[in-house]
C-alpha cells in the first residue's frame, strides 16, 4: 500500500485520536444560555423573501471577498492620494493672509498701455496683459493671486478687468462702463481695490458727476452701486472681513469720515469736521481697529496738514507729533504690522523741504526720517505703500501729471533708489505667503 492511500485511509482515525479529549461538560452552560435567548423569527431572514440558494446546500463558487487585500489596496490608494495632495499642494501657491506681514512678491505697473509684473529687485519684467487697448493702473488682490486694472475707453469711461496674477483668466467685472473718480487728493489714487476675500472689487465711480461707491463681483457676475447719500471718495474695505467701507464724505450738511455697512447700507459717522476744514487719506489699520487720516484748514495760508489716528468708532483722535521745525505732515500710510506709519513731513508750508519719515502709530515719538528733502514729494498727490514685509516703502512721489519714476525707500534708512522700471502708475506689490 502506498503512503498516499494509507494516509487517506488512516487520517480520519488519526484525527480522531488527536482530537480525543474530555467530554465537553460545558454543554450544560451553553444550553442554559441558549434557553434564555429567543429565536429569530423566520421572516427576519432574507432567504425567506428573496430567491436565494440554500447557503449550506450550495457550494459557494464565488470567492469570498478578499477583505484584507481590499483594505490594503484602500490604504495604499489613500496614501497615494495623500502623497499626490501633498505634492500638488507644494506646487500650488500658498495664500497669504489678507492683512499683516507677508513675503514680497512681484510689483505690477503699466507702461505703454500694457500691464507688466516685475521683480522689484532686478526689474526683470513680464507683460501679462498686452494689446491695442490702453490698460493702466494694475492692482494686486490682498492674497496676491489676482490683478485688477482699468481699460480706458476714451477720456471719461472705463472698464475694469480682473485677471490672475499671470494675466490669464481675464474677466470683465464691470458689465457697464464706469467713470472713475479723479485721483487728485489724499488716497483717491486708489480708485479700485479688492475685498479681503478677493470676491468683490470696490470701485470709486462718478455717477452724474457725484463721486459714488460701486461694488463689482470679481467673477464678472454683476455690479451694484451702494448709495450713501453723499459724495464719497477714498474708499477702503475695513479689515479683516470687509463688512464696512470707509470713505471721505461730503454732503449738504455733513462732512468728514464715514463708514457704510456693506450688507445693510447703513452709514455711520466716524469723524465729522467743520466746513472750514478738510481731510484726506483715510485708511484702516491692518487689524481694522484704527483709522489714519490727515486734516488741514481753519487758519492760515499754505500747507498746514497734520496726520491723525483715531479709533474705528471715531473716538480718541490723536494728532501725531512733529519735531521742532516741521510745519506739516501727510500721506500717513500704515505698515503691514500696524505699528508704524509712513508720512511725508515738511519743514516749510510748501513742497520744497519734504522728507519721508516712519513714525510709531501710537504717536509716542516723532519717528525716524528715512528720505531726505527733495526725494519724496514735490507737489500734490503722492502715492505710497509698504512692501509686504515692511522693509521698504514703494511709491510715487508726486502727481501723475509730473510722471516721476517710482521710488523705493529703505525703512532702515538706506539710500533712496529709483525703481528699475519706468512707469507713473500707482504702487502695488504682490503679497505672498510668509
Amino acid at each position: 500500500m502506498t503512503t498516499d492511500s494509507r494516509l487517506t485511509r488512516d487520517l480520519p482515525a488519526i484525527l480522531g485520536d488527536l482530537a480525543t479529549g474530555p467530554y465537553p461538560d460545558y454543554i450544560d452552560d451553553v444550553l442554559a444560555t441558549s434557553a434564555g435567548i429567543r429565536q429569530r423569527p423566520g421572516w427576519t431572514f432574507p432567504e425567506r423573501w428573496l430567491p436565494m440558494v440554500d447557503l449550506v446546500r450550495q457550494p459557494v463558487l464565488v470567492p469570498r471577498l478578499p477583505w484584507r487585500t481590499i483594505v490594503l489596496a484602500i490604504v495604499v490608494l489613500a496614501l497615494l492620494f495623500a502623497a499626490a495632495a501633498v505634492y500638488i499642494g507644494s506646487q500650488q501657491q500658498r495664500i497669504p493672509p489678507p492683512f499683516g506681514l507677508a513675503r514680497n512678491g512681484l510689483v505690477a505697473y503699466d507702461a505703454g498701455g500694457d500691464i507688466f509684473t516685475a521683480d522689484p529687485v532686478t526689474g526683470a519684467a513680464t507683460a501679462i496683459v498686452s494689446g491695442p487697448q490702453t490698460d493702466v493702473e494694475p492692482r494686486f488682490s490682498l492674497d496676491g493671486r489676482q490683478v485688477a486694472f482699468e481699460r480706458k475707453l476714451g477720456t471719461t469711461r472705463s472698464q475694469i478687468y480682473v485677471a490672475r496674477a499671470d494675466g490669464s483668466g481675464l474677466t470683465l467685472v464691470t458689465p457697464e462702463t464706469v467713470a472713475l473718480t479723479a485721483a487728485d487728493a489724499g488716497r483717491a489714487w486708489l480708485r479700485y481695490d479688492f475685498s479681503p476675500d478677493g470676491t468683490t472689487l470696490l470701485i470709486a465711480t462718478t455717477t452724474k458727476g457725484v463721486p459714488s461707491i460701486t461694488l463689482a463681483n470679481t467673477d464678472g457676475t454683476g455690479m451694484r452701486e451702494l448709495d450713501v447719500g453723499m459724495a464719497a471718495t477714498e474708499l477702503s474695505f475695513r479689515p479683516p472681513d470687509g463688512r464696512e467701507i470707509l470713505f471721505s464724505g461730503s454732503g449738504l450738511t455733513r462732512k468728514g469720515l464715514f463708514a457704510v455697512d456693506v450688507a445693510t447700507g447703513k452709514v455711520r459717522d466716524v469723524r465729522l469736521i467743520g466746513t472750514e476744514f478738510d481731510l484726506a487719506g483715510p485708511s484702516w489699520s491692518p487689524d481694522g481697529s484704527r483709522i489714519a487720516y490727515w486734516m488741514w484748514g481753519g487758519c492760515c495760508t499754505g500747507q498746514t496738514a497734520k496726520s491723525h489716528v483715531i479709533a474705528a468708532d471715531g473716538s480718541g483722535d490723536n494728532e501725531l507729533p512733529m519735531p521742532i521745525g516741521a510745519v506739516w505732515n501727510a500721506h500717513a500710510t500704515w505698515s503691514n504690522s500696524g505699528t508704524r506709519l509712513f508720512i511725508a513731513r515738511a519743514y516749510t508750508d510748501g513742497f520744497d523741504d519734504v522728507r519721508g519719515a516712519v513714525v510709531p502709530a501710537d504717536g509716542s515719538s516723532t519717528g525716524v526720517e528715512i528720505a531726505p528733502a527733495g526725494s519724496v514729494e514735490t507737489v500734490c498727490c503722492a502715492a505710497w505703500m509698504w512692501s509686504p514685509d515692511d522693509s521698504q516703502i514703494f511709491g510715487r512721489p508726486a502727481g501723475v501729471s509730473i510722471h516721476p519714476n517710482a521710488l523705493i525707500l529703505d525703512v532702515a534708512g538706506g539710500p533712496v533708489r529709483s525703481a528699475p522700471w519706468v512707469s507713473s502708475s500707482d504702487p502695488t506689490w504682490q503679497r505672498l505667503a510668509p
Partner: protein, 186 residues
C-alpha cells in the same frame, strides 16, 4: 425521535429538542474545534458560539436533513472568528500537542499521529479546517468550500498541499526503533 424530527421541533421553538440535538453533536464539534484551534479554551468558546448561533438562527435552516453540515459550518466559522480575534489580541497561546491516544497503538501508528500532528500545527486555521471538515467530519469538498466560503479549487489545492506535507513527513521519518522485550528482539 430521529434527528429530522428534533430539528423540526427545535425550529418550532422547542428548546428541549434543541438540547437533545446539541448533546448528540457537541463531542464531535468540540473535537473538530480542538483540531482546528489547537487550544481547548478557544475551542470551547467557538463551540459555545456555534451552538448559540444555531439555536438563535435555527429557523434559517430550510432543510432539516442538513442540520449537521449547518452546525459544523457555524462552529467552524466561529473557530475562524476565534482565531482572528486571537491574532488581533496578540495573545500568545501555546499550541497544545494533540496526541493522547485513547487506546494503545503500534509504534508506527503513534509515529504517524505525531507527524500528522506536526503537519497540522504548521497549517493555518483555515488549512486545518479544510482537513478536519473533509477527513474528520466527512463533508464532501463542495460542502467544505461552501462552509468556508472559498472556491472548491482552493479547497482542493490546500488539501493537496497538506496531504503532500504529511506524506513527505511520513516518508522521511526513520523507522521506529524495535522495542526490546525480555532481552529478545520482538
Amino acid at each position: 425521535m430521529d434527528q429530522r424530527g428534533l430539528v423540526e421541533r427545535a425550529r418550532g421553538g422547542d428548546h428541549d429538542a434543541f438540547a437533545e440535538l446539541a448533546r448528540t453533536v457537541v463531542v464531535r464539534l468540540d473535537q473538530a474545534a480542538r483540531l482546528i484551534l489547537r487550544d481547548p479554551e478557544l475551542a470551547r468558546d467557538a463551540v459555545q458560539e456555534g451552538l448559540i448561533r444555531a439555536w438563535r438562527d435555527l429557523r434559517k435552516l430550510r432543510d432539516p436533513d442538513r442540520f449537521d453540515a449547518w452546525i459544523y459550518r457555524l462552529t467552524v466559522n466561529a473557530c475562524l472568528d476565534q482565531a482572528r480575534h486571537k491574532r488581533r489580541r496578540v495573545v500568545e497561546v501555546e499550541l497544545m500537542t494533540l496526541h493522547a491516544p485513547s487506546t494503545p497503538d503500534s509504534a508506527s501508528a503513534h509515529a504517524d499521529r505525531e507527524l500528522v500532528d506536526e503537519v497540522l500545527a504548521q497549517l493555518d486555521e483555515q488549512g486545518r479546517a479544510i482537513v478536519v471538515l473533509h477527513y474528520y467530519i466527512g463533508l464532501p469538498l463542495t460542502d467544505v468550500a461552501a462552509t468556508l466560503g472559498i472556491p472548491v479549487g482552493t479547497v482542493k489545492s490546500r488539501l493537496h498541499r497538506a496531504l503532500a506535507a504529511m506524506r513527505v513527513a511520513i516518508d522521511t521519518e526513520p523507522a521506529p526503533t524495535p522495542s526490546i522485550v525480555g532481552g529478545q528482539i520482538a
